[in-house]
Amino acid sequence: MAIEDSGEPIIRLFHVHKRYGAKKALSDLSFEISRNEFLFVSGPSGAGKTTLLKLLYLGATVSEGQIIIDGLNLSRIPRRRIPFLRRKFGIIFQDYKLIPQRSVQDNIAIVLEARGAPRKTIRKKVRSVLRTVGMEDKRRALPPSLSGGEQQRVAVARAIAGDPQIILADEPTGSLDAEAAEVIFELLREYHRRGATVLVATHDAALIRRTGGRVILLEGGELDVVTTIPRLPA
């Protein structure tokens, strides 16, 4: 069901500001993300990459400005509709955010349970995404007993389990060796081909060059440049 990059924006930001107390984390960001785009958000440590993603899934609210996702104005969305907004997303958190008391498979199943999927579907889907990231044999393990890279792969598996429209990946390969990272990136590209919009926050320039795409470069919370980097020939 490969959908072409239609150019129609799925996410739009208008003069977005985010302050934590006196600290300005993001200043006056305005840009659009097209449906089915593969976009990078980059910048040094503390530039505001994670903060930007947070605003999109309403993990935090804007201090000023507007964000419109799929026609929904996030400032106007009623509280009980927030879960529905979030189900559009598959999120890979920088710190993984796995539930430590639950097994790997339960951690993933919860995404599908929240959507009310039937039990059999859940079981199959959980297996399949774990196989994709190479973590099938650890499905009964608890997250704290996994290595850093293994936890990250579980986080990736969870993000794609719900077949999201938009994937938000915050430093999705920071704990992975080059080979495992390539597997994950191939996965993201695969979902992109199948129609998802993918947003990757990373400070890793090499990684961006390997994949190519539009890059939003932040610097101290401000939009520095927007460039398009071509895919490095392999």
Binding site: R80, I91, I99, Q101, V111, A114
Partner: protein, 290 residues
């Protein structure tokens, strides 16, 4: 629904340490409330046993016809608050006096004539055993035609009735206090449990879990913890009761001890479930706000 119970049970197993602590806390709280209730039930049972013996003696005018005496008795029986009315003839009264006087009974032998009047002994209905009502009744009986004088064991009566009043007051106050305190403690415990799981709740919300989806299992757990704790507490209470009851029986069985009435057991049990539910409710409101 079944799925939610399922998730709640799975969850309780995954967090068995936290759950065990909550259940133990509920059980101990229920034990405390129950022990107090048990004590109160038995003590007030004992007292109301005694209050059965409180009675009003209505001494009759000397020259009444048996007919008039009988109709007076009927009128007394018809009065509100009156439980039992017994006729005590002057002959019977003298006999009783003789029995009661022990040592000094010899002096009654020298009597030519019985100086005692006929009387009615009036016991009160259970619901009316409090001082105001009792005194009101005595006054009304004294006003009846044919009654020359009314007597009731002032001193003992007052003591009894006062202790019952005290018991009622203290019982209600302490019962309410204990229940509230227990409810607070349980709510606090559940709050702590949720606190230590706030990350998990936050993650479920970020995954797009609706509020009902997230809260459901917690409510279920609250109910289950309440029920388990209530059952455990009641069982401990019953164990303790058997122990004390046996001691009492050894000591001569002088007191009629009994366990809580069934409806109270049920009430406490339901109360413990409500407490579990409320604890979850209060805590969830706190954590799921933001």
């Amino acid at each position: 629904m079944i799925r939610m119970v399922n998730r709640a049970l799975k969850d309780m197993w995954a967090n068995r340490f936290l759950n065990a602590i909550t259940v133990v806390t509920v059980a101990l709280s229920i034990l405390i409330v129950g022990a107090f209730a048990l004590f109160f039930v038995n003590a007030s049972g004992l007292l109301s046993l005694w209050t059965k013996e409180i009675r009003i003696m209505a001494y009759l005018e000397p020259d009444m016809t048996p007919e008039a005496i009988r109709s007076l008795g009927k009128r007394m029986e018809g009065m509100p608050g009156v439980g039992d009315v017994r006729f005590v003839s002057r002959e019977r009264a003298l006999e009783q006096l003789r029995e009661g006087m022990d040592e000094a009974s010899a002096l009654l032998d020298s009597l030519e004539e019985n100086p005692l009047p006929n009387a009615y002994e009036i016991h009160m209905a259970e619901a009316f055993r409090n001082r105001e009502k009792f005194e009101l009744l005595a006054t009304r009986i004294a006003g009846l035609e044919g009654v020359s004088e009314v007597e009731y064991g002032q001193e003992w009566l007052n003591r009894f009735i006062r202790i019952i009043d005290l018991f009622r007051l203290v019982g209600i106050a302490m019962g309410a206090l204990f229940f509230l305190a227990a409810a607070f403690i349980v709510a606090n415990t559940i709050r702590l449990v949720l606190y230590s799981r706030r990350d998990e709740i936050e993650i479920m919300r970020l995954m797009g879990g609706a509020e009902a989806f997230i809260r459901g299992p917690f409510y279920m757990q609250g109910l289950l913890q309440g029920a388990l704790g209530g059952a455990a507490g009641m069982t401990m209470l019953f164990g303790g009761f058997r122990f004390v009851a046996d001691k009492v029986a050894e000591g001569g069985g002088f007191l009629p001890v009994r366990f809580l009435p069934d409806e109270m057991i049920l009430g406490i049990f339901i109360g413990s479930m409500v407490v579990g539910w409320m604890g979850s409710y209060v805590s969830l409101r706190q954590f799921l706000k933001a």
